[in-house]
């Protein structure tokens, strides 16, 4: 991978569309033809669509902690109107689909798999966007995600939830700006703002499982991505550049105690209720569980 900074990615995006710069870099990196890279990304997009479509409201996770919530939201009203309701419902559905051993696309992780489809599927539905555009969005997201992974982390065990839901939210924000025809600079601003909004978010899964609060944090990641994309498209700037925000998130991750990095020992996982849940699950003892 040649992009180790957002500034390098933006420089490449002066010569060709940003999504294409990511595609070309992938072709060089893995020694493949454009068609091969595109086919693989198209397959991921189809799988992402399917991850929401395959949702079964009756399905429950092995622990009994997850299932059925997305359907409730889909049947309800949102203060923010039908579009926002669909975003929230899709994030819950895919998050639950993951918790219940359904098929999802890790983006960048399984625990954060609801964020990207939650913003992209309702947008495509409402605006009638072409699949081609959605695949471009995935390249944009992957391009920014790769830089976050290289400079910081996309593992909750390393950087807390900011590294998983935070990374997904930042990737989704950049992708949304592309979908709306924004500039590469606006994509970077959206990515920076989304990540700074969740700076320091801890990874505290109840009973060590990728369920509570993980499923609901997918909702937060999606809504944050929407707001940051809107701000960036409106010309709202981030005072701190995207690379610096990513580096700051990495530094915060290093400062985080192990109890707040996916060990199931701190945060919500340390509450009396969470401990009771963990105990009732018998063999399930708190322990690290990367999403």
């Amino acid at each position: 991978m040649s992009f180790v900074s957002v500034s390098a990615l933006l420089a490449a995006a002066e010569r060709e569309p940003l999504w294409q710069a990511v595609l070309d870099d992938d072709c060089r990196d893995r020694g493949v033809e454009r068609s091969e890279s595109l086919e693989r990304m198209e397959a991921l997009w189809r799988a992402m669509v399917r991850s929401a479509k395959e949702y079964d409201a009756a399905r429950r996770s092995a622990s009994g902690l997850s299932g059925g919530q997305g359907a409730k939201m889909a049947a309800a009203q949102s203060i923010g109107g039908p579009f926002l309701r669909d975003v929230i419902a899709t994030a819950l559905m895919v998050g639950e689909q993951n918790a219940c051993m359904g098929r999802i696309v890790a983006a960048p992780t399984a625990g954060a798999s609801g964020v990207m489809p939650a913003v992209l599927l309702p947008l495509r539905e409402r605006d009638g966007l072409a699949d081609e555009t959605m695949v471009q969005c995935l390249y944009v997201a992957a391009g920014f995600g790769q830089i976050i992974a290289a400079r910081a982390s996309i593992s909750g065990a390393e950087g807390g939830c900011q590294a998983e839901i935070g990374a997904a939210s930042a990737m989704a924000a950049a992708a949304l700006v592309h979908a709306r025809g924004g500039t590469p600079q606006a994509m970077a601003a959206a990515c920076a703002m989304a990540l700074q909004n969740v700076m320091g978010l801890v990874c505290d899964p109840v009973a060590g499982l990728v369920e509570e609060p993980c499923v609901k944090r997918n909702v937060m990641g999606a809504v944050n991505a929407l707001a940051c994309a809107d701000m960036a498209l409106a010309g709202v700037a981030s005072a701190i550049g995207c690379d610096e925000v990513i580096d700051a998130a990495a530094a915060v991750g290093r400062l985080m105690p192990a109890s707040l990095r996916e060990t199931g020992e701190g945060g919500l996982a340390a509450t009396a209720t969470a401990r009771r849940i963990a105990e009732s699950l018998g063999g399930e003892r708190p322990g690290p569980a990367e999403g």
Binding site: V105, T109, G111, Q146, G208, R285, P288, E290
Partner: protein
């Protein structure tokens, strides 16, 4: 990391390390055995043991042993399918010394009675590393076409192995050599850039001093 380590894989949830990686460990072990095991003894260590049940780690490993990939929708039903297909599975928790938190030790028996033990760890994002085969140290991911050669520990054998590869124009990505004791048995692990055809594999297996040559290509179905 390439962009498809960020976007993807398509997988059955809930955890890339505890579910997708576990399935990949099972599938890799099956490929190393060369056929579907009739008996599988699975030892789960660390976090695999602690939160494995809630993450379907047990089912995921068995799914891999049945030949399923991490995105196979039948993965959650793997234990039942194994029973139907006559695979005797035992799963237990245990401690392994100095092991990565997400490690499994699989002891497999094939239809002909041959046994194979594979220790492997799930590193995150669905990526794995094989740590040992039949108790002998090794270290490979299965992301490349890989040769696992068990050979006598004597001078010149590595050059004979690499000569065969050179003659068939196969480029080596990495080479590792492990042995249990001087003059005993060694394991040579060679990761290649491209899939290796049948012929060089047969020539390697026929080399004097080579006890067994196993070929692993996870892209090959």
């Amino acid at each position: 990391m390439n962009i498809f380590d960020i976007m993807g894989p398509v997988m059955v949830g809930p955890s890339s390390s505890h579910t997708a990686g576990a399935a990949r460990i099972g599938l890799t072990a099956r490929r190393l055995l060369g056929s579907q095991p009739v008996k599988a003894d699975i030892l789960l260590h660390g976090s695999f043991a602690a939160t494995g049940a809630g993450h379907g780690t047990d089912r995921a490993i068995v799914a891999g042993l049945l030949g399923m990939r991490p995105d196979d929708a039948a993965l959650p039903r793997a234990l039942r399918i194994a029973e139907q297909e006559g695979m005797a599975v035992t799963i237990r928790a245990g401690q392994m010394r100095d092991a990565h938190p997400n490690t499994a030790l699989l002891t497999l028996t094939d239809g002909g009675g041959r046994t194979l033990s594979v220790s492997a760890s799930s590193l995150g994002g669905g990526r794995i590393r094989v740590n040992a085969i039949d108790g002998m140290e090794a270290s490979f991911s299965g992301e490349y076409p890989t040769l696992i050669i068990r050979n006598e520990d004597r001078p010149g054998i590595l050059s004979e192995i690499t000569r065969v590869l050179y003659e068939h124009n196969a480029n080596i990505a990495t080479v590792q050599l492990y042995r249990d004791r001087r003059g005993g048995l060694a394991v040579t692990v060679i990761e290649c850039d491209a899939p290796l055809p049948e012929r060089p594999r047969a020539e390697l297996a026929a080399l004097d001093g080579v006890v067994r040559c196993t070929y692993l290509d996870m892209g090959e179905d």
